[in-house]
Symmetry: C2
Subunit: 416 residues, 2 copies
Amino acid sequence: MQQRTAEILCVGTELLMGGTVNTNATEIAKELAGLGINLYHSSVVGDNSERLAEAVKLALSRADILITTGGLGPTYDDLTKETVAACFGKKLVLHPECLEEIKAYFARAHRTMTPTNEKQAWLPEGCTVLPNPNGTAPGCVIEAGDKLVAILPGPPREMRAMLKNGLVPLLTQKGQRLVSHELHFYGIGESELEYRLHDLMVQSQNPTIAPYAGTGEVKLRVTARVAEEEDAEALLRPVMEQILAAAGEYCYGVDVPDLQTAAVKLLREKGLTAATAESCTGGLVASRLTEVPGASAVFGCGIVSYNNQVKTDILGVDPAVIREYTAVSAETAAAMAEAVRRKAGAEIGIGVTGNAGPAASEGQPVGLVFVAVASERYSHVSRMFIDRQDEDARGLIRHLAALKALSLLRKAAEKY
Amino acid sequence: MQQRTAEILCVGTELLMGGTVNTNATEIAKELAGLGINLYHSSVVGDNSERLAEAVKLALSRADILITTGGLGPTYDDLTKETVAACFGKKLVLHPECLEEIKAYFARAHRTMTPTNEKQAWLPEGCTVLPNPNGTAPGCVIEAGDKLVAILPGPPREMRAMLKNGLVPLLTQKGQRLVSHELHFYGIGESELEYRLHDLMVQSQNPTIAPYAGTGEVKLRVTARVAEEEDAEALLRPVMEQILAAAGEYCYGVDVPDLQTAAVKLLREKGLTAATAESCTGGLVASRLTEVPGASAVFGCGIVSYNNQVKTDILGVDPAVIREYTAVSAETAAAMAEAVRRKAGAEIGIGVTGNAGPAASEGQPVGLVFVAVASERYSHVSRMFIDRQDEDARGLIRHLAALKALSLLRKAAEKY
């Protein structure tokens, strides 16, 4: 089985100015991993013809496949096609069918085509065109000798569709596969998880075990490299069982994208509904839940009670609770969860109240949050104190509070 | 004035597996731009000692400053310090003060220090230590000849604090500055904006004008490179005036981070309050508003009415409106905006209803959204049809609907 190596080269001065996060490289890397193609280098260069040409040559000296993104726009500083074509001694020619596509795109979007967009229909001679249903710049693939260069656009929506529908089918190789499962953990730190799994992680070569620390979460990816006809699951199963034996109580799901999906899935399976009452998270918990397709089956009502009057008059919390314990208290969080549960007629209510900053309020410090869950089977209030001096402490406090709420929601659903 | 060149090298197999987005490179790039240090290359390599050493050598052959991230963890595959030190013929030595810091960190976090964490206190001999208040891995700076290598940790929170508080002060150079302003646009596409500004963008060398297309938004960064004593604003002002003359009606702010901040700022300035009623965005508009520090002065109440019963019983929309026009209609959006405005006693109400997918519902196609604003001075309903076949069409529809809501909110505040 032939081992191919790819390299990613993202082109764009904006990526070197700090204005744009390079999500393209991440998405391409993920697809390459799925294809079983090795990726050892991923680079960024600006909109500079000379440095771009150097980077292309370096990449082709060490990889079989080069994937570029960016520099296909209509403007004068978009140079990728020209530069890559020149590296292969090819010139650009007008592709009339691409020009028609571009015209059709503008017509569909009810926008006026500017003359500069015509440039986007010029592609290297002899290339395979990759259509762009989401934008005006077609991509292309140049094959020369044993090298392949794929030229993709920079805007992530356009790049993504072209990658999945155009390039991946071209790169799919018979013979081998990488098969992965992802185990998602909440409530345990990366160090602690690695400490528990150290021997297994060092010894296991196939499958490999790789930890990814998120903010407030940890993910383990277990990946088996197998020949087409081999049973990857038979390799993966015993390793996953060992991981779950060591830390299963923190695992909220396998191959689920996130905690909200795990929560919605479990609610659906059990035929339960949930409602949210949020103060410091300001709608973030509801927003996360409704990110999940099909959330409407389990979630109908969220109330953002960002001040005390809304907590009492609209949500229905007893004013005496807030008076006695303050708005940022376990008692108020519990009352919010119970109030919204009753108001919405849901099985499970979530209440979040806290101080996300920027200043202390009613004597409660920044970072103090109470997250409550209320149901007939399980009620609980978690106190969190997120004492961080980060620039975006507010975002972090909201994020961690929302994770806790989603985790408690999932836990409550488990009790049914 | 000496022109320095830097290079970024991010180390971590997770970055090449597609599991992690490389936000570190973006943040370092932004700081380098602010320091007036050129950045021509940014690369990623995996946790492989040989390729890491090659990448370090290549970077030092073309840049004065190398900044690495990642590979400082406690585990066996964290190799950055060892590899960089070897490139300079240096060995690692135990820094007892770092070991104390690590112990103190674990004590503060009420966590148990694992034996593997001791490795993190070993740093290249003769280096300058960069403390890590947010984690266990200290960073360091090695200077040799006219080269400088800064070794930063991989977790973004840790990297960010060390970059800003430790490394940037070390790299700040007397003599020159880059000064930028960012102009934010909503409601105009990147092509159209560039078409309007083409001559200005091509001709203007200092300041430079760089466009950044976001999803549903466009940003222009105007950057002047000046000597310390020069007046950057005098260079920037006339160019910004020309930009605003060409497309000012779409500009929602200068040097504001986003549309929600612009909206909250304007509401605060005018002493207005807003309330939100959301169906398909499910709390996203409220969540965006409350991301902004100080939002509580202008926002108290959000209701997520994800089903019709909540729209009528809790929000107070007339059931006849929904019966006659369906839940996804201009009339229902307007009724939601007006209902939440009255319920919350706010000057401006926002209503969002639509179908974010995954399936058509009540005969309304996926992607059809109505966004309404209601106030005594300005009421309006926008119809959007976001007909995209993306994998994450749902996320895109919600995002674009939320942007529209924030834009209408800002526009309504302008009328006061």
